[in-house]
Chain length 201, copies 2
DNA sequence: TCGGCGAGCATACGGCGTAAACAAGGACTG
DNA sequence: CAGTCCTTGTTTACGCCGTATGCTCGCCGA
């Protein structure tokens, strides 16, 4: 994304964009805001009836965003939030306020609520960032080696690098399987279980 | 980082760098490789005696890298690894081979080993990326609002945005507390526990 | 002494973000 | 209707960026 290329795509000169945004940074910030727009409201309106259900709903909502915009999601994660004590991808005060209010409403004390917020955001970042990066990387890249003169390519670069790594070789298929959804569900379930144990202490 | 600024820092013109690296991308790739250099060997030499201890050692080793180079670590995470079925931050075949071999050696079947690899990498990305981003963001940024004419700034931007968010306001102190180390240890412990349960089934 | 060669330099090209001045039209006001 | 502004977009320019190309030197072996 560049101002000039975006302008070209809109049939307009780059400088015309500056009538509407105050600069590139502002534009990217607006993209992030758009992606997360209405999140707090949707979560509010979902009418969940337990903190587990609440966090599940919120997690799936964020995952939807990530999968709908896999190439924009890293922006949500890497951009510094409004204040240093918020963390991506739950980076606006409304959403965090709602989360903390909800957890408190279900009996969490302050420490548990904040710990849950932190663990929850870390979980989302870890799973979703890797998931969208897997979904994005083959779209661009490749660099087109052109295959000019060299005769047979053994098996892409795979077979060459993987010599002397029998376990990797054996599990290669399994490693490249996309089980993003199940991994996410299982990881989320485990996270909720461990929060549950921490709360009941 | 730009080629020109790096050259300036080395007392040399930018183009001189091209005698040693083939371009900016190569240079960044080399930085990542350097950060993770010898990881597999160190893990091998550690002589751990259980898979739990092994993963703990590996996790701490990676965390050390992240904390030693907080502004370079996002590079490790965001750069596409050599092959699509590897995931940051465990992105070289040697390390992954050693991990899978070790887990297999402790009785993991293929599915458990691969699931563990995926969960482990997600955990590392989630925790460490947010931790280094917290440690980095106040170094630059700030934009220097200069405080030109306006008289009293109430309490930085904090108090203004946080109106109507009583929970956030109340837990602000706790939210900004840096408990990175404890969070990491607890999260890691929990991850190991849940892997243990999955394995013993 | 001389030729080659490796390290660094100078220049140049196209692309980037964006500041500043300008132009064209459309909408209001008299 | 004329005259004014206000909105929208363009043009030009500046200083960055990565990097392709070609040059200059000083050193080192023959």
């Amino acid at each position: 994304m560049s101002m000039r290329s975006l302008g070209r795509e809109l049939g307009v000169e780059a400088m015309a964009l500056y009538r509407y945004v105050s600069g590139r940074e502002d534009l990217l910030e607006a993209v992030v805001a758009r992606l997360l727009d209405g999140l707090a409201e949707r979560v509010e309106a979902a009418g969940t009836t337990s903190w587990q259900e609440y966090l599940q709903y919120l997690a799936h909502e964020i995952r939807d965003v990530a999968l709908r915009h896999p190439s924009a999601f890293p922006l949500v994660v890497s951009r510094h939030p409004a204040t240093p004590w918020l963390r991506p991808p739950l980076r606006d005060i409304d959403t965090v306020e709602h989360l903390l209010a909800t957890l408190t409403g279900y009996g969490f004390d302050e420490e548990r609520a904040v710990d849950t917020y932190k663990a929850f955001t870390s979980f989302l970042v870890g799973y979703l960032l890797l998931e969208v990066s897997m979904r994005t990387e083959n779209v661009s890249a490749v660099e087109e080696p052109m295959n000019e003169g060299s005769a047979q390519i053994p098996e892409q670069d795979t077979a060459t690098d993987v010599q002397g790594a029998p376990h990797v070789l054996r599990m290669r298929e399994r490693l490249s399987q996309d089980r993003g959804a199940e991994e996410f569900e299982i990881g989320l379930e485990m996270l909720l279980n461990r929060i549950e144990r921490a709360v009941s202490v």
